[in-house]
Symmetry: D2
Subunit: 404 residues, 4 copies
């Protein structure tokens, strides 16, 4: 009789390698290893070889960078998505994609289960499992690392016993996750928030001391909120991201140091590197300031905060996310134009912007003679704008509400 099958999100590291064997032993399932290239910079062929060597019955490697960019990063960029105002949600955005690929492969391969390598205290287990349930609530979900309760030493012993190679970088003091939208680094000395993050925590970005002493200018072209070119040359979105990661990294752009509130109820200290993400979000936001009317500048951030929280909290496949995206998509109709950025010493400054949809009207804004603004209107405006305050003051007998 054929064994049941489980599709495992496989990274090539110790945890997921041990998981292959452990799922076989514990659940009696055949394991199909699924490796996704989302920009971590790994050699996918060697990942594939390793999976098969450890015992996977099949190893599927997919390049998912473009799908990640188009289907997940782009909506987030249009929503200027930053968790707690700081973190561009790079790891969080890859989870629903990986979940979707796991489900697709499981359905195609006739598997009954999918598995991921998360521990029990992170956000990613939530993101994976909620996403998988949203996409196919019938699939069993296995979380070997959370379930096996082995210590690090026991895990190494288990690996050795089963002939699984121990990675050479096992003594890396940090826990790392990366894709084209950014790199996250946690644990080790970072666990003390009073200590400055050591230079070893960073890999994508140069320290300011080593960045070029000349600024570099770049223009980014947007069409309806989507980056479509650099320096006047058309480029795919995924290529723009990869180009800006290199360029931004060279100038030391994109470091974030954050003590964040996890979904599972604890605070953790994270160090992120997101050169392209931060550059693109900033450029995009500045173009919005130029092209969107005031009331949109006031309300869109409310939608953005909700979207950011939902991405962080694993609710990408909620129907509410669709509605938020419909809102955001509609707001992007006029967000076309060019943003000029100056990259220098860790800064990506927007120093110029233009758009045929610009609502900045020099004739209205100018202080020169050409001024088209009707100054007299202000008198009536102020009277009615301030009327509730004036009535309040009159009623309350000239005892004004002073600042405390």
């Amino acid at each position: 009789m054929m064994k049941k099958k489980c599709v495992l999100a496989y990274s090539g590291g110790l945890d997921t390698s041990v998981s292959i064997k452990w799922i076989q032993e514990k659940y009696g399932y055949d394991v199909i290893a699924l490796g996704l290239d989302i920009g971590e910079g790994k050699d996918m062929e060697s990942v594939r070889q390793k999976a098969l060597k450890v015992g996977a019955i099949k190893a599927i490697m997919l390049d998912a960078k473009e799908e990640l960019a188009e289907e997940y990063l782009l909506p987030a960029l249009k929503g200027n998505a930053l968790y707690e105002g700081k973190y561009p949600l790079s790891s969080a955005l890859s989870r629903p994609l990986i979940a979707k690929k796991l489900v697709e492969v499981a359905e195609k391969e006739g598997a009954v289960a999918v598995a991921h390598g998360c521990t029990g205290k992170g956000n990613d287990q939530v993101r994976f499992e909620v996403s998988i349930q949203a996409l196919n609530p019938e699939l069993e979900i296995i979380a070997p690392v959370r379930e096996w309760k082995m210590t690090r030493d026991e895990e190494i012993a288990y690996a050795e016993k089963h002939g699984i190679d121990i990675p050479v970088n096992l003594d890396n003091p940090f826990s790392i996750d990366a894709n084209i939208w950014g790199r996250a680094c946690e644990a080790g000395v970072l666990e003390n928030p009073w200590l400055e993050a050591p230079e070893e925590a960073y890999q994508w970005t140069a320290p300011l001391e080593l960045t070029p002493d000349e600024p570099e200018y770049i223009t980014i072209t947007f069409d309806k909120g989507k980056p479509i070119g650099l320096n006047g040359e058309s480029l795919k979105f995924v290529d723009i991201i990869e180009t800006l990661n290199v360029m931004g990294g060279k100038h030391g752009i994109g470091r974030i140091d954050h003590v964040e509130n996890r979904l599972v109820g604890i605070k953790s200290r994270e160090v992120y590197e997101n050169p392209a993400a931060l550059m693109l979000i900033q450029a995009h936001q500045e173009l919005e300031f130029l092209t969107q009317p005031r009331e949109m500048a006031k309300f869109k951030p409310v939608v953005e905060q909700q979207m950011s929280n939902m991405i962080y909290e694993g609710l990408w496949y909620s129907p509410l996310m669709n509605a938020l995206q419909s809102f955001v998509e509609e707001t992007q109709q006029m967000v076309s134009g060019v943003v000029k950025m100056k990259c220098f010493k860790g800064h990506a400054m927007v120093v110029g912007k233009q758009s045929s949809n610009s609502l900045y009207d020099e004739d209205l804004a100018t202080y020169t003679k050409g001024d088209a603004f009707d100054h007299d209107s202000a008198v009536g405006f102020i009277k009615l704008w301030g009327l509730p305050t004036k009535v309040y003051s009159q009623i309350h007998n000239k005892k004004p509400v002073l600042t405390k």
Copy 2:
């Protein structure tokens, strides 16, 4: 019979100097000039002399820096107030203070009117007039510059005719406003948002090319949200601000370039320099991340955005502002501790933070053996957290709501 009196907010510049004469001529009022030192760096004695020379019957000069800091900037700092996420509201925060001083002096001097030098297209006229009405709805408000409709040349002719000295810096291409919370610069070449702001637009901050090549570290101590010391030494809040303006400026910290949505319905391009404000807001925010629970990190930004909008829109003396401040004040009970900042090449990076109220719990966060977090709880949590999504998916027949 005694003439009626008007108290004029007097800066010593051409507009308010001409206003003294113009109010006398047009309204027949005696003018009392009120000059406030809020950190613009002017010689107040010469301002006083000038007012009297032009024809004010009295000239009152007040040092209001500390009152500005304690009563207006501190509540804004506790609320991390940034208009449109960027501008620390430096000019906006000084307007209710100036309005209050105008009203106080008017009441003391028995004046029937107060006057300000704003034009008809800015935000400040609204802030002044709504604030004045809130504090004393009986006072007449005169806005000479908005009312007289003279061109610049006519104004100069008027000044010459009345023996008013023309300031030497009249050909300054920019329109400037400043106080200890920051410096605003607009008009001139800035009116084209595609052009990079020229170096002359900046006065408080060094260009990155000229900043020191060595980082400078500083610690800021907070007590219930209020900065009370630098580098371990106790300092008044106003002195902390002035110290950080100098230090931050030296390192090129605090430049902002913004196309903002004015209350009067237009967009305008502003260049700001806010070294101390931005450093303090960032340090304060980071200490909040360490000491406030998750739900506060989620909801306080909603209050902050409302507070920022109201400050921008001239509603400082609304009873709603009092309620927002009560909220914020309560959230600051636990925001005490020390923040370590690295100032370097235009950056003020928070590289360390500590607090006896820290909610970051290394035992819970750690990935080492000491881990006190209950990993099994995650299983139940995920089940219930994801239950609405799962039910939704089951009902909708395995036709999941995929991302668009």
Copy 3:
């Protein structure tokens, strides 16, 4: 030479009749009267005759009830739009439609101006003028009643002098506006908010004393948020509204008494009758509770409040409104089903609801043996849900934050 033309929103009442003459005299324009049937119950042919008799060069009468229902009321219903949680925005929703018709007719007839009969203290002048500017910023806008500054007596004298018939109901103590979404009544004795609104203020709804002593049941069928049938019979949305107005009115349903905050800065006391609107909003909302997941029930009200405010404030044609509608439209995908309502003594109670998209899962909700809910999950859920609170409590030395 041909005279310039102005299209006037014409009601047949004294104000707009006088306006025809006044615009001719004051502006020298020919006047085209535009009358819209939006459900006020007027005889449009007599309105047309009157316009021509008073001197309009043309009188155009349009039945706009269905367009009002489909293009304006339906999006508002999907957004459960209630200003200040009470008022279904009936008058507010008709203004952008009337503005659009004015602009369309003006463009077709080659007119240079449009005119409306609003005074200077209401919301409607704002709604008309902002809408007109949004649709065609080149058109001149005339507001005769606001401009002429005649007293009521002077206006009557003017009418008599120009041979304009004085309407017989001129001594109606109230100011009325109505369309199929509801009827608004203000002024007269209503201006004292301590006095109970007199029965004469109501015209569409029976007083409870005169309503039937037997309840009446009705079912309303929704498809993706749109009402498509009553009692199982398919009906056009506009017909459902008119049917429910009669039925609800008979049972005394739909009275609202509100002291509301106007856009122009004052409070005013309004009495509304909105039988169909309130019944449909309530039924729709209840169906949403059945079919939308929790996070949508939490966030959609934020969008709804924004939408309601914008409708009230005349910003229907803002691009933000489009984005809000895109959001709402997306949320309606699953809002299909049947709602059973009991109409009785002024109440329209939802007493039953069903949907093939229902997310209410009896197997999960039940307290009987069939319970499919995993009770053990709750333990883990509570641990992580309460973890921030617990850590906070532990840090703060067992000195809990008690309620004040």
Copy 4:
């Protein structure tokens, strides 16, 4: 050696009676029964006797109605707290009080544990446990009903075996919870949301058919948001609540039928009766409309929704709740006055309201000759209010953003 002690929230029903024995057997703890009179209408002395008879070593009965009213219901009333816009949170508001009493008694009696009778699928387990942890994170929490996993029959057998009396009303088809703020009823036939709730589900309110045929008027006096009198007579808040429950119930006021989103991820159908709560919230809200300025009417609902969600979700003792209450408290400074209510056929209509703080200004609102409103101001106001829309329209080439 002395046994460890556990304080059990004791209701006198089967579940908590069995819990006394079960905790003794399973945990080996002595059980102290704590009964709270919060307005359920039980004979507390017989509850006490029953606890002792079943085996509690001590039974403490406390009248907590006034504490509930003053410390929990009043802040909720000031915040117009309604979960999902409908439910006044009556059960939810009692949980933090009961938790506080459990902790107080446990600390006084030297107990190591506290226990509650909730199942694993409700909200109340979360509210109890999070509140207890907030107040004393050292206490062990026992949830017998969730832990024992007995069926109803097994539980009855267990009771009979241990000589515990089986309550006579055990075949009540509904699950009931009640206190002075309201009565909740769930389960049984209510589990089918298509069926109209049967009359037996209601106990506090008369069916409309049996209510008086004459309306009854009542005035409620508020001082800074707190109800202090009825019909001109001073009364304690708790007495006002109890009086209005009787009076409202007689007129059929206060029924709510809701399919609500539980914190634990499911939807459940609840039938509530909240006569006093709904009457007071409505009266309070109407007084706020009269006395609070516009911007407060816009923003306070945001705070109210947050407060309602947190009460529902068991976060009463979060420091954020304190901050929300500080906000609300400040907004109540002007909410004093009298509200006239007409109770009739299930309606509690506010038909009149007055306040010395009223911001309704008849001179501004009137359409009579006394009109003090400056109509000309409207022209300027509209120009600037609509300016962003006009500029948008001009830029976008007269291709306006029409409604979809």
